[in-house]
């Protein structure tokens, strides 16, 4: 048995080496870098330099506030939308189900730059279709890119458009695992379709919804593409700057790797903490 294990590990060695060099080491290294002042040459060990700055940095708190705002508004909206989409996709009345499934999933495979460019065009002040539609129903045009609130809303709309379908497909898989006869039993119990949804479907989907929520929380904590490309590097005036964007600005524009590492670990810590709280709140009763 021991010989067989050794053989298995010999086969695994190339993968484990690459994993250690390109995954484990960077994780350890960035943790160590977060305790160094990296704006000096050579870098020097200064344990409180970056972490101390983090606690008092208004830019960090602005990015944290923006990230959490997106998280508490966009994630619940997106998951709710995904549940509704999944239920509609699961309806036996729906024709061309495969086509809808593809259409909902398509945004995930569209290139980020392409979709961001399209969103910028659609929400443009002067010739965007969204403002034209608003005008056509008698509403005033909105300057989506120059005001913080509309810019934030735009980020949330874009992220929801991109990921709601993806989550709907995961939730659809969960829906399809609920046996039909449970619903038939409820029908015989004279439980209306709406009540079946709230008392049977939602509780039975809880593990899948929690899974989607955890993925979304992690994704939102790392949100970068949309504020970088759509609202032009977290504009206006840092109004949509997220932690991911702040990390990028510190690490790759200011080349302050120590501070960027501290931000990265804070992001990971927050994602873990929020996820743990959520898992605790939605735990199965014993």
């Amino acid at each position: 048995m021991r010989y067989r294990n050794a053989t298995a590990y010999r086969f695994l060695t190339p993968y484990l080496l690459i994993f250690a060099i390109f995954w484990i080491w960077p994780i350890i290294s960035s943790f160590l870098i977060s305790f160094q002042a990296t704006r000096t040459v050579p870098w020097r060990f200064a344990p409180t330099f970056n972490w101390g700055r983090l606690i008092g940095d208004p830019a960090f708190f602005n990015a944290l506030k923006n990230t959490l705002l997106i998280l508490v508004i966009q994630v619940p909206v997106m998951i709710s939308l995904a549940v509704v989409m999944a239920v509609l996709l699961n309806s036996p009345l729906l024709k061309a189900r495969g086509l809808y499934r593809f259409a909902f999933f398509a945004p995930v495979v569209v290139g980020e730059v392409a979709y961001s460019a399209v969103f910028r065009l659609m929400f443009s002040l002067d010739f965007g279709i969204v403002n034209k539609l608003l005008n056509s129903v008698g509403l005033e045009k909105i300057d989506w890119f120059s005001n913080v609130t509309p810019a934030m809303a735009l980020i949330m709309i874009a992220v929801t458009w991109r990921w709601a379908g993806y989550n709907a497909i995961i939730i659809l898989a969960g829906l399809q695992s609920i046996p039909d006869d449970v619903y038939e039993a409820a029908t015989l119990d004279r439980v209306s379709k709406l009540r079946q949804f709230f008392y049977i479907t939602l509780p039975l989907l809880k593990p899948v919804i929690v899974f989607c929520a955890v993925l979304s929380i992690i994704g939102t904590m790392q949100l970068f593409t949309e504020p970088f490309l759509i609202t032009e590097r977290g504009g206006p005036g840092g109004g949509t700057e997220t932690l991911g964007l702040l990390l990028y600005r510190q690490g790759f524009r200011s080349l302050n790797f120590g501070y960027a590492s501290a931000i990265a670990y804070t992001m990971a810590g927050l994602a873990i903490a929020i996820t743990l709280v959520q898992l605790w709140l939605t735990r199965e009763p014993k």
């Binding site: 039993a185 015989l188 004279r190």
Partner: protein
């Protein structure tokens, strides 16, 4: 309590017809079992009674009222599903009371009904458990309890014991029988297991490929099957079928020659129309209706192949020419394989079928 009447009931899925005009009368308080092989339409028929499947043609009446267009919940029925269909996220108590709570039933009455069901089924101790914390038998009890709390006019059971092990199945069978006596309501029970059908039913409906083959009391079906299918389906081990040919007709009797048994002949008195001389027929003999050599009307030699010793009886699987016969033997535990012996058939304990499988009486 209510009678259930099915009149020319047809079910089609698209253009494919799966039930071809079923006519069944079920009396108030009767326990009727639909039995047949997989795909015969028995579950479809039950689901049509429940309202879970639309009726393509004909009428279903419960308590004298046609229910073709009545919602399942308004038909006064309760159903126990093969897979139990318990709500996995609810406790046993919540499972039992869910339907009543959702319909605004008074709390005190809900509690009374749940308590009564729990007492009848001895599940009082399990009320705070969830389905995954229960054994198969306990889950089945909860599923039956959920039906009881509805206080229905008709209970429908869709193969409720097929997921249980053999011992538990026997136990639950007795409990369902007891429940029927206690509640006295109409019960329709679907199974593919003829033993369940024989032991539970007041009357059995035998189905094959969407057709009702015969309806009758268990022993009536056993002793007097309408055709070869019913004769073969009811009874375990199944009836033996021996190829024969009519060689003589005289005085309301047909003499048949067993074609694979060296010209052995049997004179079978008949009360109905006689078959044609020379017609190919099939002689049906149940395993327990073989007698010792010379005791019957016709002897045939056989060679034992395999013997199953069940204690009180043994079943010998014997080769008789190209046919394999199952023969019940008492006190033959020591009979070895490859033994050759002779069995005898009595005309009065055999049945005759024509080439199409219809009974010749």
């Amino acid at each position: 309590m209510a009678a259930v009447t099915l009149t020319n009931v047809v079910k089609r899925f698209g253009t494919f017809e799966v039930v071809h005009g079923a006519n069944i009368d079920i009396a108030d308080g009767e326990f009727v079992v639909f039995v047949g092989p997989s795909g015969c339409g028995k579950s479809t028929l039950l689901r049509m009674v429940a309202g879970l499947e639309d009726i393509s043609g004909g009428e279903i009446a419960i308590g004298g009222k046609v229910v073709n267009d009545v919602e399942p919940a308004d038909r006064g029925i309760a159903m126990v599903f093969q897979s139990y269909a318990l709500y996995p996220h609810m406790t046993v108590e919540q499972n039992l009371s869910f339907g009543l709570r959702m319909n605004g039933n008074p709390k005190a009455d809900t509690q009374r009904r749940v308590k009564r069901a729990a007492e009848i089924l001895c599940i009082d101790e399990l009320m705070q458990r969830r389905p995954k914390q229960l054994s198969g038998g306990q889950r089945q009890r909860v599923a039956i309890g959920r039906a009881i709390v509805r206080e229905p006019q008709v209970f429908l059971f869709d193969e409720p014991l097929s997921n249980l092990d053999a011992e538990l199945r026997v136990q639950m069978r007795v409990e369902i029988s007891r429940l029927h006596k206690e509640l006295g309501v109409t019960m329709i029970y679907v199974t593919h297991d003829q033993t369940e059908a024989m032991t539970l039913a007041d009357r059995i409906v035998v189905l094959k490929a969407g057709n009702v083959e015969q309806i009758g009391a268990p022993l009536d079906l056993y002793d007097d099957p309408a055709n070869r299918f019913v004769a073969g389906f009811i009874g375990s081990p199944k009836m033996n079928f021996i190829a024969a040919q009519v060689v003589d007709l005289s005085n309301s009797a047909a003499t048949v020659e067993l074609v694979n048994h060296g010209g052995a002949r049997l004179r079978k008195p008949l009360c109905g129309p006689l078959p044609a001389a020379g017609a190919e027929v099939v002689l049906g003999v149940r395993p327990e209706h073989f007698f010792e050599a010379g005791e019957g009307d016709c002897d045939i030699p056989v060679k034992a192949d395999v013997a199953e010793h069940l204690g009180s009886v043994s079943y010998v699987y014997a080769d008789a020419g190209p046919e394999e016969l199952i023969i019940e033997r008492e006190a033959r535990r020591q009979r070895a394989s490859s033994d050759r012996f002779t069995v005898s058939i009595k005309a009065e304990r055999s049945l005759l079928f024509d080439k199409t499988g219809a009974r010749i009486r």
